[in-house]
């Protein structure tokens, strides 16, 4: 479980996060909000990628900033919004997911190999593993990065816009992978721009604006409250059509 207490973060005089309090349980929590609302910064704060002076982040009751980088890497995986294209083969990239588990010599154990195979299986990337990362399409590369994240095999996974720039088929594949992680009992926090995806995928929605959390709740309760309409000037309704890809659709 992730518990965030009174977390604030400033760059210069600008408050990026403002007294954020949040509790995240197992399942899928989507963070939504307009551009610049502090979603990515919150994710980075949970992962420990930024140093904040006010507030605390607790992971299973323990302060996250008291943990070493390696200890954090064994608890949480971070999937960033922008990913470089290393000049390596996809398989080697996936192997990097086991970096926190390997010793000084970085030799892979049987368990490491199993985790890598499982990640390849979960993301259905058999056909890609021997290709160069730079030769893959955006969607294929995304899946390889997700496989890397899965190979890390942590209880908490933080995704920052995992479906952005992908075509619909890849978006659906990525969302299916995230759903399957939920069924494994993991805690998943995902920043999403697409409201339909966020509402259709998650158990809990966190709505941010200007560095503050302005609402937390289930997708249904958030629609009923009307706050989505206030922030985004449009709302969502359940899509009862059985052929619909997503559970919700946007309305004016």
């Amino acid at each position: 479980m992730i518990q965030i207490n009174d977390l604030s973060y400033k760059i210069g005089d600008k408050k990026i996060l403002d007294s954020v309090c949040l509790k995240i349980d197992k399942g899928i929590t989507a963070i939504i909000g307009p551009n610049g609302s502090g979603k990515t910064t919150l994710l980075k704060a949970i992962e420990g990628l930024i140093e904040f002076k006010e507030g605390e982040v607790l992971i299973d009751g323990e302060k996250q900033d008291k943990k070493t980088r390696k200890e954090r890497a064994l608890m949480m995986t971070y999937f960033p919004q922008f990913r470089p294209v290393p000049q390596i083969e996809a398989e080697l990239l996936i192997e990097h997911g086991r970096f926190p588990y390997t010793g000084f010599q970085k030799k892979m154990s049987e368990k490491d190999q199993e985790a890598i195979q499982k990640a390849i299986e979960s993301t259905d990337t058999y056909a890609l593993v021997n290709k160069k990362v730079s030769r893959l399409s955006g969607g294929e590369r995304q899946k390889i990065y997700i496989a890397t994240a899965l190979a890390q095999d942590t209880d908490i996974i933080l995704f920052d816009e995992p479906t952005t720039y992908l075509d619909l088929s890849y978006q659906l594949e990525v969302l299916e992978i995230i759903k399957s992680l939920k069924s494994e009992g993991k805690t998943i926090v995902v920043v999403l721009h697409d409201l339909i995806e966020a509402f259709s995928l998650s158990d809990q929605i966190v709505l941010m604006n200007d560095g503050k959390i302005i609402s937390i709740g289930t997708p249904e309760s958030m629609i009923v409250s009307g706050i989505i309409k206030d922030v985004f000037h449009s709302s969502l309704v359940k899509d009862d059509d059985s052929n619909s890809v997503f559970k919700y659709k946007l309305i004016k």
Binding site: P80, F99, Q117, V129, R141
Partner: protein, 347 residues
Amino acid sequence: MSTSLTSSTKKTTSNKNKPLPWLIWALLGAFLVLIFLSIIFGSSSVSLKELIEAIKGENDTAALIVTYIRIPRVIASIAVGAALGCSGLILQSMLNNSLASPGIIGINSGAGLVVVVVSLIFPGSLIARAIGAFIGAFFTSIMIYGIAKLSGAARGTIILAGVAISGLFSALTNTIIELYPSTILNRASFSVGSLKNITLDQLKIAVPLIIIGLIAAFLIASSLSVLSLGDDVASSLGLNVKATRFISLLISALLASAAVAIGGLLSFLGLIAPHIVRKLIGVSNYKRLVLHTMIFGADITLLCDLLARVLFKPYELPVGIFLAVIGVPFFLFLLFSRGRRDRLDTN
């Protein structure tokens, strides 16, 4: 699904156990041939018969040439080539910038400046020269790192700061040599980089430092590979990004400074060797990249030094000239193709 998984498992496993590709054998073959040719050819050539006699102890003149002129030079070429190649590879990897090299970012010129100052204060002291080179390279690295950090730690800033500092240090070095011409006996050779008149004593300090640096490069290879995924991913995988970058800079400085202490300001090797190796072997894990760059760096330095000795016989050109003749066109090619590379790197 199970069939697919089984075939994939076999595929990935076989990939792990595949032997090093043909390139490593080609590089090693060239390495041995070049060592042999470098021992045989020079301003006064030693025939194969004379070499065998020298080994048997039956030809004192050939033995003297081989022991005191050729072998030190071969060791120097190997050490300098391997060191500068790996130094460049580490810098390019840690900065994720294909234009980084100890020559470009000022590590070489920092080492060169202190070597000149030390040579002024302790004329003829090889120990002082080696220590001075490391101090110069080390403080230049710290200075560049500090400037980049103060200015917002952008990786591109390190390159720009390095280029500026390199210009300053080169100007200071040239001023000292201009005012005190006796400081460095052969100014042109030092500025361009030369392995002429290398002695075994000169190598006793620098070569162990290079061996330490190369071992360290192997040890840090996996971390450099993770660093290539970007700071956020690397950090989330448990890597101490700042410490890795700092240690990488130190290893790079150690290798470059030891090379400067031996061969002067050889500029382009650190830039070209990692690029040529990457192009030849394509994608690879970093340990393999370090190994190939090491051997390729040694090969190209042995070749250029051999050409420098025999092409204009009995005159000898500094090896740095031949490295630059190969390096400059490649550098320009790299500049022109950089736009495409940048797009790939930042996707």
